[in-house]
Amino acid sequence: MLKTVLCDLLDIKYPIFQGGMAWISDAELASAVSDAGGIGIIAAGNSPAEHVLNEIKKIKKMTDRPFGVNVMLMSRYAHEVAQVAADEKVKIIVTGAGNPAKHMKMWTEYGAKVIPVVPSVALAKLMERCGASAVIAEGGEAGGHVGDITTMALVPQVCDAVKIPVIAAGGIGDGRGIAAALMLGACGVQVGTRFLTAMECVVHENYKNMVLKAKDIDTLFAGKRVGHPIRALKNNFVREYLKKEYDSSVSDEELLKFGEGRFKLAAVDGDIKEGCFLAGQIAGIVNREQSAKEIIEEMFAQAEEILNGAKKFYE
């Protein structure tokens, strides 16, 4: 059976994190992933701390397996969410969209494992120095807030630069992705897009259908101009946003205002035209709804088969 240092570090069966997706990754999805042997993550996104607290309390009743909270550092509620996670002694803290250094002490003092998402080697090194237990090296293929560097290029460079475990993210949707990530030096994976169509995922049905229908070329990268680049499925909103992004007569403030509230519009309201449907480039291989357990077991069975068969390449 496939086992890595991450399994021992976090007391899990499968070295897989479910990505923290704003307005989507709640206690229901996270508990299903944790029960299946991975790490389910509650996403704070832009939600107030009270909402995050409720989800933490809910998941504690739903599973006795380890779970985590993703603190989105760009959120105006980031500080309160960070405090709530500490008050609830959440054992795994994943951070995204920023530098968590100022919260590190508060989390590590009670023994939390802090695992920041990093889009560059320098940030990975900085996080290691700040006391991170591991890092998630996320390539630009991923959905949501992303950097420029691809997973294939980023993961080995981060692995060379730090001594802590590296988890690969971005573009991983099946066992082939897991096998590749391990070969690049990672000891685990984070997967978001594939879990969007999990049966336990409460995202709007329109969102699931868009992911199920998506092809390889159906995502766009936008938002770099205002310093918050994201990857999302092509639709009316993203196309309009890109037009404005390349229009110098549109100010940054107008652009930011135009993007406000779009994630919720997609995930909760299912507004196909005006919502922002965050998803990664791997959406093209996601073609059916399954339980979180089926997804994880299928992915790892395939990874093991590939890794066991790898000898054929040098015999």
Binding site: N99, A101, P119, S120, V121, A122, L123, K125, L126, G147, G227
Partner: protein, 72 residues
């Protein structure tokens, strides 16, 4: 110290004629947040200090203040 920092910035930007003043902002230097993290690493090596990344750092002047504080 500005001269030494200018050398680091010139190396980072691969621009030997780059001129900077304390008022030069990261934005004017076309440095995004990931560039700033990388630059901090380069500065730490050059100056032999450890710098806490701070969001309020927006220009060369604030960077010099942080380096001076780290050196003292």
């Amino acid at each position: 110290m500005l001269e030494q920092l200018t050398t680091v910035l010139r190396n980072y930007k691969s621009d030997d004629s780059l001129q900077v003043a304390e008022t030069t902002t990261f934005e004017e230097l076309s440095l995004d947040s990931l560039d700033v993290v990388q630059l901090i690493m380069d500065i730490e090596e050059e100056f032999g200090v450890t710098i806490e990344l701070d969001k309020s750092m927006k220009d060369v002047g604030s960077l010099l203040t942080v380096i001076a504080a780290a050196k003292s």
